[in-house]
Amino acid sequence: MSRQFKITLAILLMGVAIGAIYFRGLHREILRFAHLERSEEQARREVTRPPVTAPADRKFKTQIFWASLSSPGTLEPVEVELPQTDEPSERARLALDTLIASPPDPEQRTLPAETLLLEFYLLADGTAIADFSDALANKTPSGISSEMLAVDSIARTVRAAVPTARRLKILVQGQEVETLAGHVDLSGNFDLAGAPQTAPQNTGAGASLTPAVTPGTLKPASGKQP
């Protein structure tokens, strides 16, 4: 009895030991697969995107619009240098990727970190089309202010990178959506020419973000003279 008990116990202990080793390996495998799955979108993006052909030592300067730390609810341009490319849509892609991936401070983030720019097209008539992954719609904090900030940062960053773009259409997973996260209308185009269509105007005197893109002067009804 006691001998049988000991043998059983020894077998069980061995089983536990083997299990522990096996499960550790399994856990690592699962983590690896999870990582692979996550980067599938990334892979698609890499495949569908032509490589940047310009020499890496040439750079172009553009402005990326992240949230301002000093005056919350507004955007602040940051001058960045990105690898030079002659393709305007490629410039916009690089700028938007930077907007998503590298805010100087996490507090300055305007788009969810999980967002991917799937495609960017620039049509001959000056229409820019930016197609984002569904994280843009699912992970952007719901609210008029937060959604406006997200859309505005995209629009202004595109305009800084591609001055020839006249209007911007934002798609999610290749589809037109009604709103970004329940509030801000994405069914139309955002005008990039002239005064910014989407500029938050809530800071009164401090509303001027940068001399190049002073928010449009909104005339109340009293400004409309006969």
């Binding site: 719901s142 509030h183 139309g188 002239g194 009804a221």
Partner: protein, 249 residues
């Protein structure tokens, strides 16, 4: 009876809606010895009905805080409280939803759009931002010149419903923001403009008010904003009505 009078007033004086002509009462109150008094006393223009839109509802909870505060519940509480208080002041108030129900943007806009004379207020609570502040939003004007207001009777494309009212909405937002900035310190001094889906569909002066934020342990601080909101809306609407004529050519 009231509706008949209101409709006839609208028919007789469509301009009174937008106050492009002098107010009928002003005319009748001026002594005019040469002319006989009008045979029928002119009815006053109908008071604007306030349509309050508690955003979201049912499965769409809107912004949701980590502690479970949901935008849809807070805005419904505030809307019901506003309706109670503003009706006590003699205003006519309609809500776009009564309970935790779903309604499309179009459904909500229709409630206001079938009324001859209304003001539309959409209530929201943000996900983020400085707590306890309130911001009014009106629709961003399109590029170029402001479109002329259409003939009130002419059909308007649904997607362009707000176009002709953008200036009025902006003026209402300005009056609201002045009040909100006083009631809720830290709020911006002037209103914002944005491409808010709901406002785009409304054929009346329309403003969204966003409070911040759902990032709270419970909804009590937001619910306590109700009296300040009531007073802000009441005062802003009074100022809006008074200046309805002055802003027009």
């Amino acid at each position: 009876m009231w509706r008949v009078l209101a409709a006839s007033a609208l028919f007789l004086f469509p301009g009174a809606l937008f106050s492009q002509t002098p107010q009928p009462q002003q005319q009748s109150s001026t002594p005019q010895p040469q002319l006989p008094p009008p045979p029928i006393p002119r009815p006053a223009p109908p008071l604007a009905i306030l349509v309050i839109d508690p955003a979201h509802g049912a499965t769409d909870s809107g912004a949701r805080g980590e502690q479970g505060v949901a935008e849809k519940d807070v805005v419904l509480f505030l809307a019901q409280s506003l309706k109670r208080e503003l009706e006590r002041q003699g205003m006519r108030v309609i809500l776009t939803r009564q309970g935790d129900t779903a309604a499309s943007f179009d459904d909500r806009a229709s409630i206001a759009n079938v009324l001859p004379n209304a003001v539309f207020l959409s209530l929201h609570v943000s996900s983020t931002g400085k707590p306890g502040i309130a911001t009014a939003y009106s629709q961003t004007p399109p590029m170029g010149t402001m479109p002329e207001r259409r003939d009130p009777g002419a059909p308007v494309p649904w997607e362009e419903a707000q176009l002709a009212f953008i200036a009025d909405s902006r003026r209402l937002a300005e009056f609201l923001q002045i009040q909100l900035a006083q009631k809720f310190p830290g709020s911006p001094e002037s209103p914002s403009s944005g491409n808010v889906r709901q406002l785009r569909l409304v054929t009346h002066p329309a403003v969204a008010i966003e409070l911040s934020s759902v990032d709270l342990p419970d909804a009590k601080p937001l619910e306590r904003m109700a009296p300040g909101l009531t007073e802000s809306i009441s005062r802003a609407l009074a100022a809006f009505r008074q200046t309805a004529g002055a802003a027009k050519p």
